[in-house]
Amino acid sequence: MRSISFALFFGFIVFLVGSRDPAFAQTPPASDREELARLRSDLEALRGEYAERIAALEQRLSALQAAAPTAPPSPAPSAPAAPEAQVPPGAAGAGGPTGALPVYGGVTAASKVFNPDIAVVGDFLGAAGDGAGSTQPSLSFHEAEASFQAIVDPYARADFFLTFGPDEVGVEEAYVTFPAVPGGLLTKIGKMRTAFGKVDGMHNHTLPWTDRPLVTDNLVGGEEGLADSGISIARLIPNPWFFLEATAQVYAGDSAVFQSPERSDLAYLGHLRGYQDLSESTNLDLGGSIAYGHNDSGPDSTTRLLGVDATFRYRPLRRAIYRQLLARTELVWSRREQPSGMQNSFGTYFELDYKFARRWIAGARFDYSGRADDASIKDKGGSLLLTWWPSEFSQIRAQYRHTRYGEGGTANELLFQFLFSIGAHGAHPF
């Protein structure tokens, strides 16, 4: 066996070397030349025959196309067929793509289909009038928020929201969500906006105003809010009557309100949300929140926040894109220990938003709030708003804001906001 295979191999080498010998190739015998000529003429004949057949086929094809003008247009035939990648079925449900996607570049670029959904929202603010010491510039590019969202694996999805301000870059949120942990616990880990009330969880571009209410600024940390690194678990509480969800969150204690002096001092937050459809077009959303943690006024000083929120929504389903009403209030009590003594402050806002045409929303807000570090100073204010939506992806808003500050000083301001977003279509806020 072995000698035979060796002989074959040797023969093969001889054949290779021999066939590459130029002298051998250039001097074919006369009979070979005749054979070559015959082959050549055969090939010519064959080529001619095929050219005729192809021409005939082309003629028939164009005749057929002319006879069937109503046929659906096929993709442009001039473009070469792009390689396609199939997205795993079901990705659309989580905001991902479905079906076939074009793949650019080489075949390995198929991994691009796993890129996260990317969107960028620009938030441009303008202010005019007497601000009574307000530091908001007349025109400012407030921030750009970039979001990256995708499914991690069969067990988790991840959401990143990075904000780029005029002179700072920050992580607004970055968390992983485990939607199907046993026990029905919706688990989130990362840096998050908290579940305290309604406004604290909202990003700037989903707010119905250009600013945040006084109570948020005075008691709940303003724009940054209670956002912090932590762990959140939320569970539905089954009952035969209505939607009830309990959320428990633990944070490091490093936010605009809470500052933990020790590693072992954490900030805790609890939220209970009840929701009930009153009819197919109206519903009621109630919540209670509590937050506790250390503050920065002393080693053993703590802050306790208690919040209640109520939202009524009206949306007639047949005309939902033209008519919507939202009425909401939040009440917040703050108990802050500090060297000067306990400060018991209270703040609230009440808002009304009415969508009166497909692109127009009118709004009003009443504000009242004490200060967290001095309960005796009480600010009051009110706003009127008008919002215009050229499309789902941009928004122009004007807000007249009147504020009477507790130390004295009255502000009358006209605020503008331009919001514009590009990229993936995110979920509509509810």
Partner: protein, 309 residues
């Protein structure tokens, strides 16, 4: 206490409980009433079906209400239209459902569009300057009875996998649905046949599958671009084009304002027809076949009213 009798009785009870399980119906949640109707056709009493969006509601803009989270929490199967129709509201609902069965990619998640015939899949570069375009094709594909059949097949296959014991039931129910749909299709085709090639205008791009199936030629839209409300200049152009081509029918979905369509109709002598895009769009549209009965009747009578061809 531990008598042999007691023990054997307990064993018997256990065996009885294991041998004759009363199989619970499969809990199905669908995003639209059309998918719910088709699921009922195939599943019969072996399924319990609930839809999220109402038939008279714009399916692009459904609110992600917590009450829907409760529905999804208990679902064994979620059937979605797909093609990004529900992109604005379904993902947060699924995420908050705490239901591993219906997460995208899991066995209990069915995208009904994967086996359907999809029209208007963009081939070149698309941008939002074109309006709210659906990059994966037109999601209103259920408005072709052929796609209804394909959806039913996909649901039958899925239900059979989830409840292998009922495979025969599902197959028989599908065959029955298929037969009734075929009969109905013959009826609809006969009714629409005289008007093949008739030019019409629609409000939104909801009807490409319906119009292709029944031979209607859409020459324009009341919306200047998908999802962008009517503008005066576009409306004037549309009126001129309708007059030039003699268009007498304007199809409108029940969730759009009729002001602009009515003024177009006044200018052109056309008739505004509020068609139902979904089961439940009107009270009498209780299932998928009645949806086409209703729409075909309405279109035919509107065409006859406006002078035949």
């Amino acid at each position: 206490m531990r008598s042999p009798f007691f023990r054997s009785a307990a064993a018997l009870a256990l065996v009885a409980a294991m041998a004759s399980p009363v199989p619970a119906a499969i809990n199905v949640v669908t995003t639209t009433e059309d998918l719910a109707s088709i699921t009922r056709e195939v599943g019969g009493d072996r399924v319990k079906v609930e839809a999220i969006a109402k038939g008279y509601q714009d399916p692009h803009f459904v609110e992600a209400k917590p009450s829907f989270i409760l529905k999804l929490h208990n679902a064994d199967l979620l059937v979605a239209v797909g093609r990004e129709l529900e992109v604005g509201w379904l993902p947060p609902l699924i995420q908050q459902s705490r239901n591993a069965k219906i997460q995208p990619g899991a066995d209990g998640y069915l995208d009904a569009s994967l086996t359907a015939r999809i029209l208007e899949i963009p081939t070149g570069q698309i941008t939002r300057a074109m309006g709210d375009v659906h990059p994966l094709g037109n999601p209103h594909y259920w408005l072709d009875p052929g796609n209804g059949r394909r959806i039913a097949q996909a649901i039958e296959a899925k239900l059979a996998r989830m409840s292998p014991g009922d495979t025969g039931t599902f197959a028989a129910r599908y065959a029955d649905f298929d037969r009734r749909l075929k009969e109905a299709e013959a009826r609809w085709d006969a009714a629409m046949a005289p008007y093949r090639g008739l030019k019409i205008v629609t409000y939104h791009r909801s009807w490409p599958n319906f119009c292709e199936r029944f031979g209607l030629d859409v020459i324009g839209y009341v919306e200047p671009r998908p999802g962008i409300p009517p503008s005066p200049s576009h409306t004037i152009e549309l009126i001129q084009e309708m007059k030039r081509q003699g268009v007498k029918i304007v199809l409108v979905e029940p969730y759009f304002d009729l002001k602009t369509p009515n003024s177009i109709a006044r200018e052109t002598g056309a008739k505004v027809v509020v068609l139902a895009p979904s089961v439940g769009g009107e009270k009498e549209i209780t299932d998928y076949i009645r949806l086409f009965d209703y729409d075909v009747n309405l279109v035919v009578s509107a065409i006859e009213e406006t002078g035949g061809k």
